[in-house]
């Protein structure tokens, strides 16, 4: 019996552990505010004065973050946090590495339900509506209005899009990516193709991939499991006549999956393997695609720019990075995580969390994080820093994802996001596996999404 309820038991244990941690935190705040009458208020502390704060007990905040790509990123983030504490002695940050994005969200969710959320956390940009529906996060507009240092227009527009809904900003862009096309220059040469001219249109993509599909390696791989809607969004946008077309409404209340243009986009994906024989059939695994590319099992791949460092360190051949080819236009959804600040904590902690979030997204930090991870620098001025200039001079491929941002747009994000994204992901998988045709798959996905969204359209 004990075994049967193991998951429940684990959950209960973790909740108790969380409750325990939270308790100590609350205590320390109370002591902190008792000790110093002159403790700066929420707004005043937005401009820290390190010398004055020395004698007071520092405000302690908890910071959850996931790592979703290879490499020792936890070290980078912990380092950034400790440098923040050096320059802000009145704030103590406890960084908590929480696993991948999925684990991270689960931990945050458990914390929110136990009324002991982290103070600040990196979370998928797509969790925005779920967090709002759980009443878990606060808008940042007051902080932004009162803080002249933040300079919101220095952030790339494409990354700000998913921090906002209904004229309010709820997060700051942090670890962000787009989809780029990686290609093996040596295989291009072997196939008689110019390695400096990657395919720029769908037609070129097909003919290149066909030529490259030989000698035991595939011409192209597009991953189809996990969040396959991400790749689908890319193809759909490339095939859209309207330059601002997306597969959901900007208020997150409607999905637009089964339009004729989207059906064409999915059909193109299926044709790449079935009709054009340029890609392996079936659902290709997200995690094995980069391995295939590095091992020379595929000549081209569509994948997240977050894999740049991985490919750079492990590929034993020259490779190029390019925009995924256009049909009617270029296009790629953005991806990755933003910094959110949570409710159910004190205003002092929220102000401290804001200071921390601001620091983590400042140009120097954005540059450092980008060059050590492969994620896109979230600010324009990050690319003017010396560190970033040195990095991109030696590795110009890193600029492709940045240059693509003018064509980038918001990742699928709706109310009831889990159900809506699963609906479309599953149907794309079914279509890739040959169980259903493109039009039928998108029709079913649309129906499921409409059901999941119905309560939010009352």
């Amino acid at each position: 019996m004990l075994k049967q309820t193991k998951p429940l038991l684990l959950l209960a244990a973790s909740l108790i552990a969380l409750a325990g941690c939270g308790q100590t935190n609350t205590d320390s705040t109370q002591k902190g505010s008792d000790a110093g009458e002159s403790q700066p208020s929420a707004v005043a502390s937005a401009s820290p004065s390190p010398s004055a704060a020395d004698e007071e007990k520092p405000v302690e905040i908890t910071f959850y973050y996931p790592v979703n790509v290879g490499g020792p990123l936890t070290k980078v983030i912990d380092e950034m946090a400790s440098r923040f504490m050096d320059s802000h002695p009145n704030i103590k940050v406890n960084p908590v590495y929480t696993g991948n994005y999925g684990d991270n969200t689960v931990k945050i969710q458990a914390g929110v339900q136990a009324k002991q959320p982290p103070d600040v956390a990196v979370m998928m940009s797509t969790e925005l509506y779920s967090m709002l529906d759980m009443n878990a996060i606060i808008p940042l507009d007051d902080f932004i209005a009162q803080d002249s240092e933040i300079q919101m227009d220095d952030f790339y527009e494409a990354f700000l899009e998913d921090t906002q809904t209904e004229d309010k900003t709820y997060s700051l862009p942090f670890q962000r990516s787009t989809i780029v096309m990686y290609y093996n220059k040596e295989m291009f040469k072997d196939a008689g193709l110019d390695p400096e001219k990657p395919p720029a249109t769908w037609d070129e993509l097909v003919s290149y991939a066909q030529k490259l599909n030989k000698d035991g390696h595939a011409g192209l791989e597009i991953p189809g499991n996990d969040d396959s809607y991400w790749m689908f969004q890319m193809l759909a946008r490339q095939n859209a006549t309207d330059p601002k077309q997306n597969i959901m409404s900007s208020d997150g209340k409607k999905a637009m999956f089964d339009t004729p243009e989207n059906v064409e986009a999915l059909q193109f994906w299926l044709d790449l393997s079935r009709k054009h024989k340029a890609m392996p059939e079936g659902v290709i695994d997200w995690a094995t695609v980069p391995t295939d590319f590095i091992e020379g099992k595929t000549a081209m791949m569509m994948h997240t720019s977050g894999n740049l460092t991985n490919v750079k360190n492990n590929a034993k051949f020259e490779f190029g990075v390019a925009f995924p080819p256009a049909r009617k236009q270029f296009g790629s959804p953005t991806g990755g995580g933003n910094l959110y600040i949570f409710k159910d904590t004190s205003p002092e902690k929220q102000a401290a969390a804001w200071e921390f979030a601001k620091y983590m997204t400042a140009p120097e930090q954005a540059a450092q994080f980008s060059s050590s991870s492969g994620y896109v620098g979230v600010r324009k001025s990050a690319y003017d820093t010396e560190a970033m200039k040195a990095y991109t001079a030696g590795f110009p491929q890193a600029l492709v994802a940045r240059d693509q941002l003018q064509y980038a747009f918001r990742e699928l994000s709706t109310h009831n996001h889990g159900k809506v994204s699963t609906a479309i992901t599953n149907q794309i998988q079914a279509a890739l596996a040959g169980q259903i045709d493109a039009a039928g798959a998108l029709k079913k996905a649309q129906e499921e999404a409409d059901r999941a969204l119905a309560p939010f359209n009352k």
Binding site: P7, G224, D226, P280, D285, N416, Q427
Partner: protein
């Protein structure tokens, strides 16, 4: 003459005080969560409502209509039917071998038991590689048979078979241990008597070993069936329940519903169904059916 309550307390107090610590923990971490699940399963609690809303048995009705739940439940039956008999038969054969083989007996036992010592997550990673198209041993084997590249985990037709195969490999060694213990309990003179009577090896296995290990078989069956519903760790690593739910199992779907769909009411309803199901299975053991099949 009826016994007074103080007398009763005196007689049972010591017993209760021994049981109390474990009872306390069971109540806290097992019975309370179970009751809470039952309570939650009668409420709508998801992103669309801010406070839990009492809906009676509506969640259960919705579940019956949910095609994914039906598919997942069906998958789990297939998974159980695929893994349980096969791993039990294999375990029995391996135990026979490990019991008899004179030379290298320890080595044989170790080799058979070894898959069970690796954590499920590590097993899943190893097998993920074995099934990876182009690289993996089994992927290459399948490609050779089908004469074209096969993506065993990426196709709805093969994914379940691939997972069943892995699970049998993992589980059989574990069940073998029970059979080994069962076989060593069988008095050796039975076999000697059989040999004297001119009974062959096959016949003595059929007439002596199989019937006398029946209690083990019952126990192992119960463990195997409940395991088929409880072991889902590999899904995180290998398929995430895909493609299109064709490898999704009940416990994984419950997890998904809670932490991905934030639909706690529905997840609680499924949890209750699962608890009832597992209680029914384990009651086979609990009700001492093994006595009825024991030859004594």
């Amino acid at each position: 003459m009826p016994i007074g309550w103080s007398e009763k307390l005196k007689r049972n107090g010591f017993g209760w005080s021994l049981v109390l610590p474990s009872l306390l923990f069971l109540a806290l971490f097992t019975y309370y969560p179970m009751l809470k699940s039952v309570w939650l399963s009668l409420h709508e609690k998801n992103l669309a409502v801010s406070e839990p809303l009492f809906v009676g048995f509506d969640n259960y009705v919705q579940l019956l209509k949910d095609p994914v739940f039906r598919q997942v439940f069906g998958n789990n039956i297939v998974f159980a039917v695929g893994t349980v008999p096969l791993s039990i038969v294999l375990a029995f054969l391996m135990a026979l071998f490990a019991d008899k083989a004179i030379k290298g007996r320890g080595l044989a036992r170790l080799a058979f038991f070894y898959p069970n010592m690796i954590p499920m997550i590590a097993v899943a990673n190893i097998w993920l590689f074995l099934y990876t198209p182009h690289f993996g041993l089994f992927a290459k084997l399948a490609a050779w048979i089908a004469d074209q590249p096969v993506n065993l985990l990426g196709s709805p037709d093969t994914v379940m078979g691939a997972l069943v195969f892995m699970m049998v490999w993992k589980e059989a060694g574990y069940f073998m241990i029970f059979y080994l213990a069962g076989m060593q309990q069988i008095p050796k003179d039975l076999y000697e008597a059989a040999a004297v009577s001119g009974l062959g090896t096959a016949a003595s296995i059929r007439r002596i070993t199989v019937p006398l290990t029946m209690p083990t078989t019952l126990f192992v069956s119960v463990v195997a069936i409940t395991n088929a519903f409880k072991l889902v760790d590999h899904l995180w690593i290998m398929t995430k329940g895909g493609p299109n739910n064709s490898s999704n199992l009940l416990l994984y779907y419950i997890y998904d519903t809670t932490f991905n769909f934030y639909d706690q009411g529905m997840a609680a309803a499924m949890t209750v169904i699962m608890i009832v199901l597992l209680l029914l299975v384990s009651s086979l053991q609990f009700l001492r059916w093994d006595r009825k099949i024991h030859y004594e």
